[in-house]
């Protein structure tokens, strides 16, 4: 199972596409997702899963945890919309017996919003799983973002999975001390558990970031600024033929969406 936002290197098509092109496609996908009615959002969620599988070689089982994490939110959104939506109402029956009525419009909205959320999540996950955080940062640098801001951005993205791993270790340490706040279904206990996790996680993250900052300075991180010299990049950051394909796909998604809406 993959941690959220965890990048792993590969030679797949999607891994090699420039982060800016991927972001462009992502924006086109999100525009289509939020403009198109049912049944498109569920189809687009499934489509994104297949796209990630084919172009990046990442099976859905690797990020199933995310979908499972989203499922209670999806169910809640559908129920709230179905209960609070207006007329017309649709009866829900079981073996011919009418149980209760729900708002037909609300149910439609709930399903649409729920699948939009999960499709968005899968799309962002696909992006983060196939994009090296530093490559992403450096592509932003190439686009004009100051180097330190771009580096910090890439570093923050890299830090996120580390924090998740640390959170898991601290959770295990809590279990080792017989704490019943981890893995419980009681929401009050869970909130108490989060409170217990925050201190070691925060202190550890601060300690780690201070050590890393010092280690970076020891390796001359600030020298170019201090010397007034221009920075060079070790890895090539630029567009290729693959990116043109992705731009074309993004345009096709946008065009298809507008044609569908106009029709």
């Amino acid at each position: 199972m993959k941690m959220l936002y965890q990048f792993s290197a590969s030679e797949s098509f999607l891994h090699k596409v420039d982060p800016r092109s991927k972001m462009l496609f992502l924006i086109a996908f999100l525009v289509a997702l939020w403009l198109l009615p049912l049944p498109y959002p569920p189809l687009m969620a499934v489509g994104m899963v297949i796209l990630i599988w084919i172009t990046a070689g990442i099976k859905p089982t690797e990020y199933m945890f995310f979908v499972l994490l989203m499922s209670p939110i999806m169910v809640a959104v559908i129920i709230i919309q179905a209960v609070t939506g207006g007329a017309p109402f649709q009866p829900i029956t079981l073996f011919g017996t009418r149980l209760f009525s729900v708002s037909a419009g609300g149910l439609d909205t709930g399903i649409r919003v729920a699948f939009r959320l999960v499709a968005m999540g899968i799309a962002f996950l696909g992006f983060s799983m196939t994009t090296d955080p530093f490559h992403w940062g450096m592509s932003l640098y190439r686009t004009g973002l100051p180097y330190k801001a771009a580096f910090m951005f890439g570093f923050a993205m890299r830090f996120f999975p580390l924090l998740q791993e640390e959170l898991s270790i601290i959770g295990n340490a809590l279990k080792a001390r017989a704490s019943d706040t981890i893995g419980t279904s009681n929401p009050v206990k869970r909130i108490r558990g989060i409170g217990q996790l925050v201190i070691p996680l925060g202190l550890s993250a601060m300690g780690r970031s201070q050590t890393i900052a010092l280690a970076m300075e020891l390796r001359g991180y600030s020298i170019p600024e201090e010397m007034g010299t221009k920075r060079t990049l070790y890895r090539k950051v630029g567009f290729s033929g693959r990116d043109v394909l992705v731009w074309a796909a993004a345009l096709a998604v946008l065009a298809g969406t507008f044609i569908k809406i106009m029709a």
């Binding site: 199972m1 993959k2 965890q6 792993s8 290197a9 690797e62 640390e166 270790i169 601290i170 295990n172 340490a173 809590l174 279990k175 080792a176 001390r177 017989a178 704490s179 019943d180 981890i182 893995g183 419980t184 217990q196 201190i199 070691p200 202190l203 550890s204 300690g207």
Partner: protein, 278 residues
Amino acid sequence: MVEEREFALELEGVSFSYPRPRHNVALKKIDLQIKQGEFVALIGQNGSGKSTLAKCTSGFLTPTKGVIRVCGKDIHKVPPSLQARYVGYVFQNPDHQLFKDRVWDDVAFGLNNLKVANDIVDKKVEKILKDLRLYQYRDIHPHRLAKGDKQRLAIASIVVMEPPVLIVDEPTTGQDPYKAREIMDVLTQLNERNKTTVLVITHSMELVAEYAKRTVALCQGNILLDGSVREVFSRSDILAKTFVEPPAVVQLAQGLGLPGVPLTTDEAGRALMEVLAK
């Protein structure tokens, strides 16, 4: 109450593979039985599977195959909050396992979770803090302690819960030889007094020679050697496969052709005198 049995730990055909991106087979069909009250050292090169084995045994990782029983119970069928009653685990990094804002409260945290009466908590906390020379720091924030003290505090916090099985992952890292011995002495006391089964993961062969009664050497997810410390250290040719060298005194004795496997300088001295007397 945890039931007393002959074996504290029983591992049957335990395999474990880490998923992608780390993807590797860390344990390969491990069969291991550890009796109640044994003091076992788990040795082997980095990546040999020591910590994975320990984490599977503690219930933090679920084996891909096989069963792990702690005091007769399949540990993976015990609810997470009750696992600590069976097995205590001290992690390598103390920063991950200190939760309270006073040293005293941190040690008491686990006992409070176990619903131990407050007067008993106070007695136990005081004793363990004194044993590990942490009593003078009892009102300090745990994160203000030096790294070695934090490591001892993390050990104290688990040891105080007196689990029937105690797993300690590299307890002496960052400790000077004197403090390292203090830690090992506490583990030995616990082992002898309470019959706690102790499993120590360590790279310090000197401490293994001095404190452990049995040694299990792992190599690439397999058990390479399993026996008394003397038996294991006598097979330096096999130990070399997992990049482990016996303590210097054992190597010296082997080099001099002394009989047996002396584990301490005293033993080596006596063996040398015997040879010279002949």
